[in-house]
Each structure stands twice: as structure tokens, then as C-alpha cells.
């Protein structure tokens, strides 16, 4: 029975992916890509990974989907979307088929000759879990055992926003998207947005002993912000530029300060003091949630703001 469900999901995933890749209409491609994210979320549940399912649905399908759709809308609005889409050349098709077949064959060969792993990392995790300050293994890995990775990963998020900002010259420019003046939408927002905020906080809180955590909570927060943004209530207009920047960097800064303070205290980077791990993790996660929400919102609005007219001709101006 479970096998049947798995195989159905597998077929569905592959069919949806193929449609998304090969569909003639770009709009259809994006829609099918979002659909793929949602189907994959079901797959993650089957794999026993509810945390990833949450992240996939919220970030992989939700935020990525909104970003893609929005860009598509922008390209359409500016006209002539499909005109310059001439068919790729024949050698390119050949190369594509050849390399993808090679990859698949190699991977299949690798997968069917899997040896038994010599190291069982999950045993080590279980052993160390009581000292980690949280009781949910994934949160323990993300914010304690491998917190260095997470620190750099938040750096990647900040960096993406930074590059976006660097490509705008005038940072105070408002984006061009007009809000939707729909009365029913605004009425529902008063109900939906608080519900989303509560869910986000719940996800954050749940992260210490159940599936959930800063990233899922941040994505939820970002969804609420984007919804508000789309309906015309612009957070970036409410907050000053400086406040916004501070909010973007808050999570990374708090993380870095906690990391560094342990060095000054004579312990390795990122080591939490005895007994304080749980509280510090919660503090970091709280700051991260807010920042991730704002970062994802900014990634959306930066992409949205009107690109500036190209600057002075020479690239090597002084």
C-alpha cells in the first residue's frame, strides 16, 4: 500500500518536472514548478522529514514560486516575452541528452552499489543531544553541532540581499508595484496576517522539540510581509531605510556576537556556555526569524523595484 503511494508520488514528481521543463508556455512552467514543490513536500513526509516538508512548501514552492511568478509578470508587462525564444541548436540538444543520460547512468550505478556506511552519525547525535540545549535533533544539528554552517548560510542570505542592493543606485526608491485596492482582501488581511504571525511564532517555538525552527518561521513571516506588500501596505515605506537594514542584519549580528563572545570567554568559536545553550539558541532563532522574514521580503522587493537607467558609460570610471 505504502509502496503504491510512493510509486504514485514518484511518477507524479517526474511527470510534473518534465512538464515544467518542456512546456511551451513559460507561465505553465512556473506553475508546474510550484506544483512540484508541493508534491515534493508530500515526498519529504514519506521520507520521514517533516522539517524539510515544511521548508520545501514554504521556501522551495512558496517563496521561490512567488519570486518566479513576479519576475514573469514583470517581463510580460514590459512586453515581448516569447518573441526571442528561438529553438536551441541541434548540437546543444545532443550535448544535453548525452550529459543527462551519462549523469543518470553514473548515479544509478553509484546508488545500486552502496556500501554499508562505516560511521553512524545519528548515534553520535543521540548521544550528544542532552548537552545541546534542545530536544529536537535537527535544531540541535543546525544551531549547535553544525552551527558554523548555519552562520555561513545566513551570511549567504545577507549577501544575496547585499548584491541586490548594490545593483540599485538609489536605495530610497519605491518599487513600482501598485497595491491591490480590493476591499475584501484588506478585510481578510486583518484576520490572515495575525494568524500567520501566530503560526510563525508557533513554528519557532516548536523548533526546540518538534519539527519547525527559525527558517520555516522566517519563511512564514516573509509570506505575511509579502502578502501585506502585495496588498499595498509597504513595510519598507513604514520603516526607515536604516531600520530596515538593521532588521536585515539583526539575525546575523546576534549570531556572530554570540559566537564571538564564547571566544572572548576562552572557549572555541560558537560554543555555548554550560547550561545556557537552550536560551541562547532561542535568542539566536528569534533574531534569525525576524531577519529571514525581512531578507526574503527584501529579495522580493529588490527584484521588484524598477531597474535604474544604466549608469555613466565607461565601466572603469574613477
Amino acid at each position: 500500500m505504502n509502496l503504491l503511494i510512493d510509486l504514485t508520488l514518484l511518477t507524479g514528481i517526474l511527470a510534473i518536472a518534465a512538464t515544467s521543463l518542456l512546456s511551451r508556455s513559460l507561465f505553465q512552467s512556473v506553475i508546474f514548478f510550484i506544483l512540484l514543490g508541493l508534491t515534493l513536500a508530500l515526498g519529504w513526509i514519506r521520507l520521514g522529514a517533516p522539517d524539510i516538508a515544511l521548508a520545501e512548501a514554504a521556501i522551495g514552492a512558496g517563496i521561490t514560486g512567488v519570486l518566479l511568478l513576479d519576475t514573469l509578470g514583470h517581463l510580460k508587462k514590459t512586453g515581448k516575452l516569447d518573441k526571442d525564444e528561438h529553438r536551441p541548436s541541434y548540437p546543444r540538444l545532443l550535448l544535453a541528452i548525452l550529459s543527462s543520460v551519462t549523469l543518470v547512468v553514473l548515479l544509478l550505478w553509484a546508488v545500486f552499489h552502496q556500501p554499508t556506511p562505516a560511521i553512524q552519525l545519528h548515534l553520535l547525535v543521540e548521544e550528544a543531544l542532552p548537552d545541546s540545549g534542545v530536544s529536537h535533533q535537527i535544531t540541535a544539528v543546525l544551531l549547535n553541532f553544525r552551527s558554523y554552517d548555519t552562520l555561513l548560510e545566513v551570511g549567504v542570505l545577507v549577501l544575496a540581499v547585499l548584491v541586490g542592493l548594490a545593483l540599485q543606485t538609489d536605495q530610497h526608491q519605491q518599487d513600482s508595484l501598485p497595491g491591490l485596492p480590493n476591499p475584501l482582501l484588506h478585510a481578510c488581511l486583518t484576520l490572515l496576517v495575525p494568524a500567520m504571525l501566530i503560526t510563525s511564532m508557533y513554528l519557532l517555538w516548536a523548533g526546540s522539540d518538534r519539527p519547525g525552527g527559525a527558517f520555516q518561521a522566517g519563511a512564514m513571516l516573509a509570506a505575511a510581509f509579502i502578502l501585506l506588500h502585495l496588498s499595498g501596505i509597504k513595510l519598507s515605506a513604514q520603516l526607515s531605510h536604516r531600520m530596515m537594514q538593521f532588521g536585515l542584519l539583526l539575525g546575523f549580528t546576534v549570531f556572530l556576537v554570540v559566537a564571538t563572545s564564547s571566544v572572548i570567554g576562552g572557549r572555541p568559536l560558537l560554543a555555548y556556555p554550560d547550561g545556557g545553550a537552550g536560551l541562547l539558541i532561542l535568542l539566536i532563532e528569534l533574531a534569525l526569524t525576524l531577519s529571514i522574514g525581512l531578507i526574503l521580503l527584501s529579495l522580493f522587493t529588490i527584484a521588484n523595484s524598477p531597474p535604474l537607467s544604466s549608469r555613466s558609460g565607461g565601466s572603469n570610471g574613477h
Binding site: 508556455s25 507561465f27 505553465q28 491591490l180 480590493n182 475584501l184 482582501l185 481578510c188 484576520l191 490572515l192 494568524a195
Partner: protein, 109 residues
């Protein structure tokens, strides 16, 4: 016990059928407005049936409340998005399908 299982199965299957019907409607109906109708109505009822079918599976008050909350939120969201699509379509003056004519492919342009 078996009666309960049969009832559950009936609810779940009919809920799934509602989804199927809704999807067929989405594909077959001629214009945006009727498609919204098919989608939202079938989904709300379908999800409702499935959720009622799930409640007795492992009864606890908390889970039941959560399931009902999910239903409520989905209904709210689908009503709202249905309304928005129709509103936008009207603003752009997407025409109603002529009673016998070709379908105008709104979703696939």
C-alpha cells in the same frame, strides 16, 4: 468499529472524488469565472469531507480542533483567492464564454 471504518472510507473517497470533479471542471469549463466556481466549491467540500473522515481516526480534541482550523483557513484562503481572480478578470474585462463558442485559454497564455 468496522462500521466506523466503512463510514470513514466513504467520507474519504467521496472527498477525493470531489477533488477529481473539481479538477475536471477546471480543465473542461469554458471561462475563468466558471472555472473558479468549479475549483473553489469542489475543493472546499472535498477537503471538508476528508477532514470529517479523518477526525475519528485517532480521536483527540486537540487534533480535531487543528483539523477544523485547517479547513477554516483553507476555505478562507480559497474564497479570497477565488474572489481576487474574478475581480482581476473583471477589471481586465475577460469575457464570459459565449454559450457555444471556443474556450478562450486564459490559463495557458
Amino acid at each position: 468499529m468496522t462500521a466506523l471504518v466503512i463510514l470513514q472510507s466513504l467520507l474519504l473517497i467521496s472527498g477525493a472524488l470531489m477533488f477529481v470533479v473539481g479538477s475536471i471542471g477546471l480543465l473542461r469549463f469554458p471561462d475563468t469565472y466558471t472555472r473558479i466556481h468549479a475549483l473553489t466549491k469542489a475543493d472546499n467540500v472535498g477537503l471538508g469531507l476528508i477532514i470529517i473522515g479523518l477526525i475519528p481516526a485517532n480521536f483527540s480534541l486537540l487534533v480535531t480542533l487543528k483539523l477544523l482550523l485547517i479547513w477554516l483557513l483553507v476555505m478562507l484562503a480559497s474564497a479570497l483567492s477565488g474572489h481576487l481572480v474574478a475581480w482581476e478578470a473583471r477589471a481586465k474585462q475577460v469575457p464570459l464564454a459565449p454559450s457555444e463558442g471556443e474556450s478562450n485559454d486564459e490559463l495557458t497564455d
